[in-house]
Symmetry: C2
Subunit: 884 residues, 2 copies
């Protein structure tokens, strides 16, 4: 019986009797993640397919949602909880508080999406001064019983009663010191009994209330703690960083305890059905005999490879291999499992889709197709497109001399270089305020470090294994990590680490090679990543299924080459203004801008044309006949002018004008809101000669390259159009400039526009009747749709995300409700007038997987993104086509 | 026969045979203005209702449109022109080049909208060395014939062959000097014969080709000149200033000549069927015997009042009165007519709706209803809502001592004060570059002066009558004008004017009283206008028919009072930030902004609350129970900070911080694009305490005023919302702040939002589910929809309008295609979720008549505008409802 006072009852009619709030493990299945959380759904699924799982039940995410809102439970909850607890007691033939055969349970959170940032686990719940005696009697192991009891008080105290774990550790340390021993295992049953009493006093002192004896009370408080943890800062930060939205809350799993620390015939382990780092199909994991799971995850004791279980207990190992195979075949995916062996009997405590590196994801997907487990289509959907970026980041240049000063576990591949910092806060401060690249060095990491890990280039830990927090999180982030590097002694307070004789201080440069586990002193030269064969296979398959073309945003022949290697099918955005900043050109640009009239611009424009022509020749040569979209000059002219007094003096001397006059001109060019100012096609309309020069440069380059027998397909793009008459005016300027070459014109060209203003979207039918292509400039479109300036958004965007007003930075991915709706309106209006209209996107968001999928959905013809994101876009485009 | 070489034939199939390109006056009617132009349609209409009109025909605006585009004529045009010319010759029993009875015609332009800026008229066309003899013989008046001939050469030379009229005037002046006479009339037939020869030489010399003898050639060249004048700078400027768009072109009217200068039984005049200045129903006009119309319009000879025609020829006067009455009854509107008396026979040459002052428009509309000529509904549609502003502008304070130094004609009412300038260019330069208020003083004005007149506060001319160019244009613009002020001697080159002993130099201040024709030395104190009874009647009628409410944008009790007098039905926008700038508050505001945290803001916010409370008490007292929409703080905080070094020093001392620290804070607050920055509800979200303070001030003021027995209806408005979650967050802040007063809350309030971002429009359904009202902030919405910054638009907007890319400044009126479409989407989405939603507009455009009509069309509940525009909005709202 659950006392009605302990679980508050509400009378919200929306939760009428009949809503099922608690599910036994034999009532759910893997499709019910939204309701039961990932962990709960999979515990049910495993139960369903007869994999040995300790029995239990799951409290639904809807209860959490209700609790978050009302700070009380739905009306029927207490009764349902009581029913399921009764069932659990019957199944286990154990009871809470039973002095012969007490029921002990674990309580674990579990949302629909894995969230390591949340409160995780309370084990051994149900122990008190009475039941611990029963446990000792039943197991015949008094030491084990009291060790379990002190662990429970410690975990419950920390997690539920908010008593810092250092309080407990101090007490243990003191006892070990008093006894003159080094390891916990050297403490005997009497020591542990004494420790239990000390722990209870610690709780009483730190929490201001006594440790609860009653198992029901313990359970109630643990459930509440899980629900409260849903909205703690750590969890919110985790959701923010990982862009997790739309969840109801967390579920709570209450499960009968099994013990991995009941002696040398017990143990615990975690494993992946394949290698999560490189995808190798061999079973991969670690275990520890006579240990509870927390010992492995926290990295406190270093586990041994799973293959050694064969030697410890061959039949158990075989059973585990069978279960592994069964799970992988059943889920058709690589699984991340947790298991416990209690006195020779194997139990599975968790299975879930395993996090993996991009390289592993590619290999596993390809292997599973070869094994006949997956179709190509299914395999493509298993690879996280966003994660592919990690395969595409630079590595240390091959053959470079490396001063390897330490070696740890190769926890997450890739290379990174940065200045050493020793706390997550420092990592964040250096990265955001000083704009420094940093390497975060810790003994071990915990969810509290997430913000610092996010800001760091790479992570180095001195403790923990391949499944430690640092390793798991970094693989997810696609961030380089070297873990468990025991050679390194970290001194956080002195802000230094010691490796043998070497002292590395805060701010010193190191390089990590995560694929090899190397720590290298100094800054290493990087090189382009080599793509694996599996990656290439995934790309090839992607190309078979995607409908959208993938282009790149590139302004130089070198960028174009990289993008072509990554599979780009053209240039979607070539920004001509970047070409104006070279030392030998900027003076001409300034001369042009500062000219009094069109006559004064003739000479500098003529010279600039030659430079631009060379630029375009280089690009057209590389791109061969692939389409090249060239955007005519876009930024406000004042961006090209000098700002500092000494620069202005030099320029005035060069131009032979007074500093005062020059300052006047510069200040006249100043704008209050340059983003909304005299830029884009507005420049073209007031200075048609500038656009004409650019078109001449494009034409002459195209003619020269064509003359050498290469086809040129150029798309001339007019930026920032808001009214069709802007487009028409400049289209005529462009056409007239090309027409001057008469019959010499030997290349293909289209004239189109970037769609960057809401008004262009709203009048897209008029513009489509005139233009030959559209390309969404979602950076500007996002700015104007929200009235957010990208440059000023930083002042409040974090607070917006923290307060739940925005889900993510709207510059990072297409805001479907607002910006996306305008895009859809634009496509519909544009195609209504010109059904063959080529429409694409070239904003930064063209390489964001969700945005790519949205672009597919609204019928775009291509996406264009930075060279390194081209593979991501290829896969995302295929996934969009497959999901349709 | 028209030679086919003289009228080019094109083979554009879009103008197939069958399109009627030329209409005789008996083939058209007054509804055909788009095709025949206003003048042509009305000449046809008068012909149709048997008013004596010299016969002729009209070439359609479509021919002009075709000619503008192709620089040649439609295929069938030459044949149709020939047919109509044949008909005209038969009707008049006269022929081109006939040596007995030659046909003479006038050629006049005439677009669908009256455009004084275009080429107007060529008279006496058909004269040459042969036909002049026939004319002399037929009229028995050789002097008249040669005078007509020399006038024709002069006019044709000036208008068609681009020979400056000063060339001809110099020749006349020389002849008069040689003969020792003063007036043109003292030149005899022989003199004029000689003058004709001299004029022909002038043409040959200046134009480089000889004056064409052939009447057909003369006609062809005149038609071409009219068509070419459609796109000259003067015409384009006129269309730009008057926001005239969408016309095909001008029509050309070719009409048999009648002569007002055939002797003392001939004459010419212009008249209004009622007084265009004050609306008095008495017939109003001027005439001159023995003169051609150009003498009257150009102000060269001063005409006499129309009533004196009675003495000259009573039966003719009666006939004119009858025609006047017939026209007014037929058109149901006051008419502006031109007539000519040829040897005792009366001909009407033009009728059109007469331009009038706003006061006259009101009186005429009200009188015509009383006379039974119009219904109230019809009468309301006759008054130009935009023009009403002129009745609402300040007058010279009654009873003020006026130093009247000269008196002219009261050409256009209202008072104006400014610095004297003597050229249109100077007027523009002083007004735009120096931001000075100027009075433009000219001998007489011409279409070349339009740009200067537009920039001036008022116009003073030394010559010309009530129907002179200056008078007509100023009445249309609603601008004060004193015309024909003969006491004033204008010396343009010396930049001064002389009035008796007084010399007024450029830059001296004068005041004009246009209703009395007074020129006053110095700057006079102004007072609010007194509204006429007729105006009040129009307003009363407007209120009977309009559906939309009209509110005002006002931030002070004084503004509120003015607006209430103008009929405002509430405040649609009370901007709270203006209240922060008073000397005694700005320090507190700065202290608040510069506080390190919320604690530091407590004290200044507390003090500011008391100030704001007093502000709101004043406003609520004045507005009684009318709704008052209060917008919470909107602008970026840096707007409140000092900019100059000395101000910063003072502030640093006051705040007891270092100048360096203060500068750092100020520079941190700086934004790259403040319009898109940390402002509006974004401030409220990051500084909820500021919004809370404002809500407290509103609540405490409302409670205080309510306690005195006055109802308070306040609408609390959250600015710049782009996502419903912004609104929800701040709605909760507002509600919580009000809830703190518990049961004391004794006033009505709503919480709503300004709709200022495209995203708010696109997600209006979500926002409408939460908000109690919407108010469009079309200033910001226009900026973001176009990606135009109001502050920077000036750099290119004129060029945009000149190049035909924009029709008008998009900040002045709602852009229906873009901004308007977003508004419509917003209303539809909003009402779909919340059908009772109150939706209005409070941007500047809420007082623009066309915008008001658009707001009616899309179903808004109210418009809100500045106090002086309230009457305009009331009438425009009624007109919108009536036109529906």
């Amino acid at each position: 019986m659950i006392p009605s006072s302990s679980i508050a009852r509400a009378s919200d009619p929306s939760h009428a009797n009949g809503t099922k709030l608690v599910y036994s493990f034999d009532e759910g299945n893997k499709e019910m993640k939204d309701l039961l959380g990932g962990k709960g759904a999979n515990l049910s699924e495993m139960t369903r397919i007869n994999i040995p799982v300790p029995f239990g039940f799951t409290i639904t995410t809807e209860v959490c949602e209700y609790y978050s809102k009302h700070k009380e439970y739905p009306e029927d909850f207490a009764d349902q909880l009581e029913d399921k607890l009764d069932l659990l007691q019957r199944r286990m033939a154990k009871k809470f508080s039973d002095s012969d055969n007490p029921l002990l349970v674990s309580v674990r959170s579990g949302a629909a999406v894995s969230m390591p940032g949340m409160m995780d686990t309370v084990l051994n719940l149900g122990l008190n001064d009475d039941t611990v005696v029963a446990l000792a009697k039943k197991t015949g192991n008094e030491r084990f019983a009291y060790d379990s009891y002190r662990r429970f008080i410690q975990m419950f105290g920390d997690v539920v009663m908010e008593v810092g774990h250092e309080n407990f550790e101090n007490a243990i340390d003191k006892m070990k010191e008093d006894k003159g021993v080094k390891d916990d295992t050297e403490l005997d049953a009497e020591d542990l009994k004494a420790l239990v009493e000390q722990f209870k006093k610690v709780v009483e002192k730190e929490a201001g209330r006594s440790f609860p004896d009653n198992p029901l009370e313990q359970l109630k408080l643990s459930i509440e703690a899980v629900f409260n943890s849903w909205d703690n800062d750590r969890a919110k930060t985790y959701r923010k960083i990982n862009n997790i939205t739309g969840l109801k809350g967390t579920a709570v799993n209450v499960q009968a305890m099994v013990f991995g620390n009941m002696g040398e015939d017990s143990g615990t382990g975690v494993a992946f059905t394949r290698n999560p780092s490189n995808g190798d199909p061999a079973f991969y994991g670690e275990f520890l005999m006579n240990a509870q799971g927390e010992d492995v995850v926290a990295g406190i004791r270093t586990p041994v490879p799973i293959s050694q279980l064969q030697e410890v207990n061959a039949s158990l190992y075989d059973e585990l291999i069978n279960i592994k195979n069964k799970l992988e075949n059943h889920y058709k995916d690589m699984q991340d499992i947790e298991f416990t062996i209690e006195q020779g009997k194997l139990f599975l405590l968790q299975t879930r889709s395993g996090k993996r590196t991009a390289a592993a994801a590619c290999k596993i997907a390809v292997d599973m197709v070869e094994e006949g487990m997956l179709t190509k289509e299914e395999a493509l959907l298993k690879v996280d497109a966003g994660q592919l970026g990690q395969m595409l980041h630079p590595q240390i240049r091959k053959g470079a001399e490396k001063n390897v000063v330490a070696k740890g576990l190769p926890a997450s591949p890739g290379a990174a270089c940065g200045k050493v910092v020793f706390t997550a806060d420092d990592a964040m401060a250096w990265a955001t305020e000083k704009n420094e690249k940093v390497i975060l060095v810790r003994k071990e990491t915990s969810p509290e470090d997430i913000h610092g890990m996010h800001c760091a280039q790479g992570i180095l830990t001195s403790r923990g294994g391949m499944t430690s927090h640092a390793a798991v999180v970094c693989r997810g982030m696609g961030k380089c990590c070297v873990a468990g590097c025991a050679d390194v002694i970290v001194n956080v307070s002195a802000k230094k680490m010691i490796i043998g004789d070497l002292v590395v201080n805060e701010g010193d440069l190191i390089t990590l090679e995560g694929g090899l586990g190397e720590v290298i002193l100094g800054q290493m030269e990087m090189q382009e990543p080599e793509m694996t064969e599996d990656f290439k296979t995934i790309m090839k398959w992607s190309d078979e299924f995607r409908r959208m073309k993938v282009r790149t945003n590139a302004d130089t022949p070198a960028d174009c080459k990289v993008a072509l290697d990554f599979g780009a099918e053209g240039i979607g955005l070539c920004r001509t203004e970047h070409m104006f900043f070279d030392d030998d050109r900027i003076f001409l640009v300034r001369k042009m801008i500062l000219a009094k009239d069109a006559d004064g611009r003739v000479e500098p424009l003529k010279k600039l044309k030659e430079f631009q022509k060379d630029d375009f020749v280089g690009i057209f040569e590389v791109m061969e006949e692939l389409p090249v979209t060239v955007r005519l000059l876009d930024p406000p002219l004042h961006e090209f002018l000098p700002e500092k007094a000494e620069q202005i003096e030099v320029l005035a001397r060069d131009l032979d004008v007074s500093v005062d006059d020059l300052n006047t001109v510069i200040s006249n060019l100043h704008e209050v809101n340059p983003m909304l100012g005299h830029r884009g096609c507005r420049l073209g309309i007031t200075y048609p000669d500038i656009y004409k020069m650019q078109v001449q440069a494009i034409s002459e380059a195209a003619m020269a390259v064509s003359a050498r027998g290469k086809k040129v397909n150029v798309e001339i793009e007019i930026p920032l159009v808001g009214d069709v008459r802007e487009f028409n005016y400049l289209r005529d300027v462009v056409k007239a400039a090309i027409a001057e070459y008469g019959e010499e014109v030997n290349f293909n060209y289209k004239i189109g526009t970037m769609i960057e203003t809401p008004r262009a979207c709203l009048t897209a039918d008029e513009i489509a009747a005139q233009a030959e292509f559209f390309s969404f400039g979602t950076n500007d479109l996002t700015q104007t749709t929200f009235a957010f300036s990208r440059d000023d958004l930083g002042k409040f965007v974090n607070e917006y995300i923290e307060k739940g007003i925005l889900d993510r930075d709207p510059m990072a991915g297409i805001d479907e409700k607002g910006v996306g709706k305008l895009m859809r309106i634009c496509v519909e209006l544009g195609r209504s007038e010109n059904s063959e209209m080529e429409i694409g996107i070239c904003g930064e968001q063209g390489g964001d997987p969700d945005s790519v999928k949205y672009c597919h959905k609204i019928g775009l013809d291509f996406v264009s993104c930075s060279p390194y994101r081209v593979p991501i876009a290829r896969l995302a485009a295929a996934q969009a086509a497959l999901k349709k």
